[in-house]
């Protein structure tokens, strides 16, 4: 009797019509309004130029007109240009100099400064503070350091009666000089990422390790490093992507010299597209940079991921 009553009551609104229950995960299209502004700028400033760049790279183009379709002609010219090949090598060399160093020094600083003392807090701020400077200030500071005869480096070497290495003018040292300035500038982010990763490691694992007789080295190798492996990969990928885009430091410190030895790909793109007005070839060089960064980051990711799975 009671059952029948209930059935009649629930069926009352529309006999025979099944009223679907509300699905809280159903898409709510009006929410699109909230992401629309972002989507608009993301599309116009990133997605559209990405495809426009691809389109440009297969056309003969300058600032006044976009000319005819030339197929892969721009790419062929690019790979016959010794300056471009030099700039690719320069960029790789720079990435090789900076990325591992940034990761290792960042990790080292994070390990040293991961404690709750006032000194550690002050030092953390100091090491991070260089990151907020603009590239102009950074290169200015380092040019002052590197200036022959009167610069900071020369002064310090002078105290010991030695001659400072000519970091800006010596062809074999110029890129190293730029790398040092870059590492000083960029060290804050890796350090902070490592610090946050270190602070996520539960304290009791360290206590268990202490009870397991692990010394500092064993603890670092067996507990700390495996625990921050993912962050290490993240730092490497972020830095590869960032450092492949070297431009400001090289432009402001050496103008790509001496003899194009510090000219990175981005500077080559800038020169080609906006100083020689060969937009098509500039776009082609940009596409090459895009592919290089993509490959490097993917390779890094795949290599470390496979290792992780085997461990």
């Amino acid at each position: 009797m009671a059952d029948q009553l209930t059935i009649r009551e629930t069926a009352a609104p529309a006999v025979g019509v099944r009223v679907p229950s509300a699905n809280i995960y159903a898409p709510q299209w009006r929410n699109f309004v909230f992401v629309a502004p972002f989507l608009f700028f993301f599309t116009t400033l990133l997605i559209f130029p990405l495809f426009w760049g691809m389109w440009l790279s297969v056309h003969k183009a300058d600032t006044f007109s976009t000319g005819r379709f030339v197929g892969l002609d721009n790419y062929v010219r690019l790979f016959h240009d010794k300056v471009f090949l030099q700039s690719v090598w320069n960029t790789f060399y720079f990435v090789l100099l900076t990325v591992p160093t940034l990761a290792l020094i960042g990790l080292f600083l994070a390990l040293c400064l991961n404690r709750r003392t006032r000194t550690a807090a002050v030092l953390r701020t100091l090491f991070f503070s260089s990151s907020v400077l603009s590239v102009t200030i950074v290169t200015l500071i380092w040019r002052i350091v590197y200036i022959p005869n009167v610069g900071l480096l020369s002064t310090i070497y002078g105290w010991f009666g030695a001659t400072a290495p000519a970091f800006i003018s010596d062809p074999s040292l110029a890129m190293i000089g730029i790398a040092i300035a870059t590492i000083w500038w960029c060290i804050g982010l890796p350090m902070m990422l490592f610090l946050s990763a270190l602070q996520q490691i539960p304290q009791d694992i360290y206590e268990a390790a202490a009870l397991d007789n692990a010394n500092r080295w064993q603890t670092l190798r067996s507990i700390t490093l495996p625990s921050i492996k993912r962050t290490f990969i993240l730092v490497i990928i972020i830095q590869i992507v960032l450092q492949f885009q070297l431009f400001g430091q090289a432009w402001l410190m050496t103008r790509g010299g001496p003899n194009n030895l510090t000219k990175p790909i981005v500077l080559y793109i800038y020169d080609t597209a906006f100083r020689r007005w060969d937009l098509g070839m500039g776009a082609a060089a940009s596409e090459m940079l895009f592919v290089l960064i993509l490959i490097a980051a993917m390779a890094q990711y795949l290599v470390t991921r496979n290792k992780g799975d085997q461990a």
Binding site: D204, E207, S222, P226
Partner: protein, 363 residues
């Protein structure tokens, strides 16, 4: 290998706050000791001081007569099982267990043999190649115990190891821990706030409260002759009934009088009890339900808790005092009934305002 542990006048401060105050305790070899107390009583801190994870601010700790409080944790010859298990997440179960032995250079075949033996005892040979992330809570708990066993320590320390398990698994693991203790014949110290764990596992319970030890004794001693009002109230469920009373010690034994003039004879010897305000204490199972008017006092039933094997009857006396009595599982009492309450004077306790306890004379 087993050890006696001597804790002498140990104290501990965190900043200006004293967590342990001049505490002494001696633990015999092969003994299963449980530190029982409410949160923040310092029981975990004491355990961590024995492990070497906290510094000792005053006093000393010795194992087999040898002072260890200046040694690093790994050199004390003890193993600890953490509440969160603290397994190394990136290592397999086997590596988790081998890590401590590897670090001190134990030969590989010895390590393998010990791991195999521990895995056999804990029935987990099939888990050895898995990582902690692939294990259930109960399995992780086993691995944590296994990691302690392979070290063949002088003493095992357990820091609330059962509190992350569900009720059924907790009961099972409790029994397994008791079996493990019988089998290994090792000194074990177990920290918990759960009195059932303490009662079932311990050879002796150390009841701690507010920086101090309240009582050390066997589970039944603690239950039947609590040294202080705190112990009486903390151990046992439901908590002991407490009633503020006036006492009459003109006779051989004490007679107590409730605020509503109910007079209850006890079996507590008069000559030892000192003057002052007193609280009468009696456990629910020592208060019997009687027909109205036939007990020491009548009460109105407020709440019934039917636990199956017994029924807890929460009654309210005429002055508002709540008394919990225990009745048979199939009790016919209903909420709103007026029932008589018969107190068993031979099982009653008396406390003064400092918490000191007197008990009925031993039969």
């Amino acid at each position: 290998m087993t050890a006696n542990i001597e804790i002498r006048n140990v104290s501990k401060q965190f900043g200006a706050m004293t967590v342990l105050d001049d505490l002494s305790l001696s633990i015999k070899a092969r003994e299963f000791i449980v530190f029982l107390g409410p949160s923040g009583c310092g029981k975990s801190t004491l355990l961590r001081m024995i492990a070497g994870l906290e510094t000792v601010d005053g006093g000393e700790i010795a194992i087999n007569g040898e002072r260890i409080d200046h040694l690093p944790p790994g050199k004390r010859g003890i193993a600890m099982v953490f509440q969160s298990y603290a397994l190394y997440p990136h290592m397999t179960v086997r590596d988790n267990m081998a890590f401590g032995l590897d670090n001190i250079g134990v030969a590989r075949d010895v390590i393998d043999a010990r791991i195999a033996e521990a895995a056999r005892i804990l029935e987990m040979p099939h888990l050895l190649e898995r990582k902690p992330g692939q294990l259930s809570g109960g399995q992780r708990q086993r691995v944590a115990i296994g990691r302690a066993i392979v070290k063949e320590p002088k003493a095992f320390l357990f820091d609330e190891p059962l509190s992350n398990l569900d009720a059924a698994l907790r009961t099972r693991t409790r029994i397994e821990l008791a079996q493990l203790h019988q089998r290994l014949q090792s000194t074990m110290i177990f920290v918990t706030h759960d009195q059932v764990e303490a009662m079932t596992l311990a050879d002796r319970i150390v009841v701690m409260n507010n920086r101090r030890i309240e009582q050390i004794g066997s589970p039944m001693e603690i239950y039947e002759r609590p040294a202080t009002k705190f112990v009486a109230g903390f151990v046992g469920a439901p908590a002991m009934n407490f009633v503020d009373v006036a006492i009459d010690r003109s006779g051989d034994v004490i007679t107590v009088t409730f605020a509503d003039s109910t007079v209850i004879p006890t079996d507590i010897a008069s000559n030892q009890v000192v003057d002052g305000a007193h609280t009468f204490g009696v456990r629910a199972e020592d208060v019997r339900i009687a027909p109205t008017g036939q007990g020491n006092v009548d009460g109105k039933v407020d709440v019934l808790e039917r636990l199956g094997e017994r029924t807890l009857v929460y009654t309210r006396l005429s002055d508002g005092q709540i008394i919990v009595a225990s009745d048979a599982g199939n009790s016919r009492v209903a909420v709103g009934d007026t029932v008589g309450l018969a107190f068993d004077g031979r099982k009653s306790h008396l406390f003064n305002e400092t918490g000191r306890a007197w008990h009925a004379r031993r039969a």
